[in-house]
């Protein structure tokens, strides 16, 4: 009887309700109702924080900047991740094990440790500048640390597994006969990738892109460490508001925009992926 009982969901539901739903509801309430001291006054709604957010060019600039950063990270991951995933599915079993451990190993190290690693690598006297200087490609150290480019590089490394794994999942399920058939019909390798492999792996690409975008849009540790003390994106702005100005209303508004944008992106991606997936299913 217990097999299908909804009672099975109670522990998880209780946990989520207490530690996620309630705090989230409070966070929403803080943005809609005025806060006095440490209590929320539910008398009348006050949407001024949202109004302030949406009419202030600075906040809009930061939002656009954060969006652009996440998009750049997603694109970088896609450009590096897709060839890797393709190579992975073509490789022999032994190499696959090796490549897989390469992909997964970054997830196993802490974000802080990884970001500190990037501080050393991207620094004025770091690996990158050292190598470029020695090979005579540049004559003065590049400014990589504490820049948007540096943050994108570091984030892309952190996020790469989340792009590669979904694509590998889709590629691995593709029948190799499809490729053979395409070759048999006279397609070149590039044409096979263009017309067979790529379209069939779109669901994986969408899933990976959505994951990477959402994770980098909301990431704090890596941008805060690699970006430095005046690197402004939505998560670092939220952090600063919680630590300094204690302006709870605008803080809630920023958080909601962050969350809302992420949800919107996930929804768009999944709608796209669903639409495409159905069409291919019909064709087969």
């Amino acid at each position: 009887m217990l097999g299908r009982s909804p009672a099975l969901a109670v522990p998880a539901l209780a946990f989520l309700t207490v530690f996620f739903v309630v705090p989230l509801a409070l966070l929403v309430a803080i943005g809609i109702f005025p806060v006095r001291g440490s209590t929320i006054v539910f008398d009348h709604a006050d949407l001024r924080p949202y109004f302030r957010y949406l009419t202030d060019p600075f906040y809009l600039w930061v939002t656009a900047r954060t969006f652009g950063m996440a998009a750049a990270v997603t694109l970088t991951c896609l450009l590096c991740g897709f060839p890797f995933a393709y190579l992975f599915t073509r490789a022999r079993r032994f190499w696959q094990a090796l490549l897989l451990s390469l992909v997964v190993s970054p997830i196993l190290t802490g974000t802080v440790v990884r970001s500190y690693g990037w501080l050393v690598i991207l620094g004025r006297r770091g690996l990158v500048n050292d190598a470029l200087l020695r090979w005579g490609i540049i004559h003065a150290p590049l400014h990589l640390l504490f820049t948007m480019q540096g943050v994108i590089i570091a984030l892309a490394q952190v996020m790469l597994p989340f792009m590669i794994l979904p694509i590998v999942g889709v590629l691995a399920r593709q029948s190799p006969y499809l490729h053979d058939a395409a070759f048999g019909l006279g397609a070149s390798r590039a044409q096979v990738v263009r017309h067979v492999v790529l379209p069939l792996s779109l669901p994986g690409i969408f899933a990976g892109s959505a994951l990477v975008f959402v994770l980098s849009f909301a990431s704090f540790t890596t941008p805060a460490l690699v970006g430095g003390g005046n690197f402004v994106i939505l998560p670092t702005l939220i952090y600063q508001q919680t630590q300094q100005s204690l302006d709870w209303g605008i803080l809630s508004a920023i958080s909601m925009v962050l969350l809302g944008t992420s949800l919107l992106v996930v929804w768009v991606y999944s709608a796209l992926a669903r639409g495409l997936g159905l069409r291919w299913a019909d064709r087969q």
Binding site: P6, A9, V10, L13, A14, T17, V18, V21, V22, A25, G37, S38, F58, L119, V120, G123, R124, R125, H143, L145, F146, T147, M148, A224, G228, G229, N230, F231, V232, L237, Q240, T242, Q243, Q244, S245, L246, D247
Partner: protein
């Protein structure tokens, strides 16, 4: 599905009506102290907390935090504060006193207070005890900067382009530097405009804006910056490790900032807290924290430091009086606006 939804609603309601009383467990004897972080926590840990634990049997936890973070955390839960004893820089201290986050001490229960220089007690506004002071001067890499800096204006020299470090306005260090820039250009606490104008000019030379003073010191270690405004003790601990750095008092003056130790309002351990605060201003402890490599300015008049240390640490009230003190009440009123402006105009 409907039943799941119903359960969710029931749980939500349960949370909403749940009594907000705290479990009545016996309070464990733990004293939570805010601290500076890094090597600067060593004197607190070794010479203050450890002996205190041995004498009282209580546990002392050090939580490294910037002053403003301490305030934010207490404000978020004032009835059950996450700290018992806090050390705050002058500005945040005055803010905490005004907001009722810290309580007045009974002088009779802090006997060591009688040994503290009266001049230092003026900055506390009647709350807490002046525990130590630190000084903002210019730190520089002696291998890369051959001419010893003598003025805050040296940071603007074209040959240091790309080698200057600063810190954002989260810390007293960042604010003090901004005010010094304003003062040098005809402004001050009440007129910060010239400070921001100078800062914007300086940004062309700035290689990194660190999020906190400790991070700025670390940038010296990794050669990202060669010259920066910095606390005497933050950089001199690195010098003791053998790094080629030095620290100077510029001719316009270095900024002295008092650290005030306070008992938090609603602490569950008032007796332990008072005793700890009394220990923290004893001459025995302050001497240990004032010598190499820590350089915390002693507030206890019975601490006698060797003359050789005077260059890094002015030790007597006459010497300290020659340093620059800032008007933190005015700064507090404007600080949020300055931070916002810093983000807007100097963020990237």
């Amino acid at each position: 599905m409907k039943r799941l939804f119903a359960m969710c609603v029931v749980l939500l309601l349960g949370c909403a009506v749940a009594p907000h009383s705290r479990a009545g467990a016996a309070p464990s004897a733990e004293l939570v102290l805010s601290s500076y972080g890094g090597q600067l926590d060593e004197p607190f840990r070794w010479f203050l907390a450890d002996p205190f634990e041995r004498q009282t049997g209580a546990k002392v936890s050090l939580v490294p935090s910037l002053s403003l973070e301490v305030l934010a955390k207490i404000k978020a839960s004032p009835a059950d504060p996450p700290f018992d004893v806090i050390v705050l820089d002058e500005g945040p201290h005055l803010q905490a006193a005004a907001d009722g986050l810290v309580q007045r001490l009974d002088d009779k229960r802090v006997p060591n207070l009688a040994q503290v220089y009266p001049a230092y007690r003026k900055v506390t506004g009647g709350f807490g005890v002046p525990q130590a002071y630190s000084v903002v001067g210019i730190a520089y890499n002696t291998k890369k900067i051959k001419d010893r800096p003598t003025s805050w204006r040296d940071l603007f020299r074209p040959e240091y382009k790309g080698q200057v470090g600063t810190v954002n306005l989260n810390s007293s260090l960042g604010v003090a530097f901004l005010v010094m820039l304003a003062r040098m250009n005809g402004g001050g606490e009440g007129n910060i405009e010239p400070g921001f104008q100078a800062y914007k000019t300086l940004m062309a030379s700035v290689s990194a804006v660190a999020p906190r003073p400790g991070a700025l010191a670390a940038l010296f270690e990794r050669d990202e910056v060669a010259i920066a405004p910095l606390w005497n003790n933050t950089i001199l601990t690195l010098r003791e490790k053998g790094l080629p750095v030095d620290w100077v008092v510029p001719k316009e003056g270095a900024v002295v900032v008092m650290s005030v130790m306070n008992m938090v309002t609603n602490t569950k351990q008032p007796d332990l807290a008072v005793r700890f605060i009394n220990d923290a201003i004893s001459s025995e402890y302050q001497l240990k924290a004032a010598v190499t490599p820590y350089f915390f300015g002693p507030t206890n008049s019975r601490v006698n430091l060797p003359a050789a240390m005077r260059r890094f640490l002015p030790t007597r009230p006459e010497e300290v009086a020659q340093l620059v003190s800032l008007d933190w009440n005015t700064i507090n009123r404007n600080r949020q606006a300055w931070t916002e402006r810093f983000n807007r105009e100097l963020g990237r």
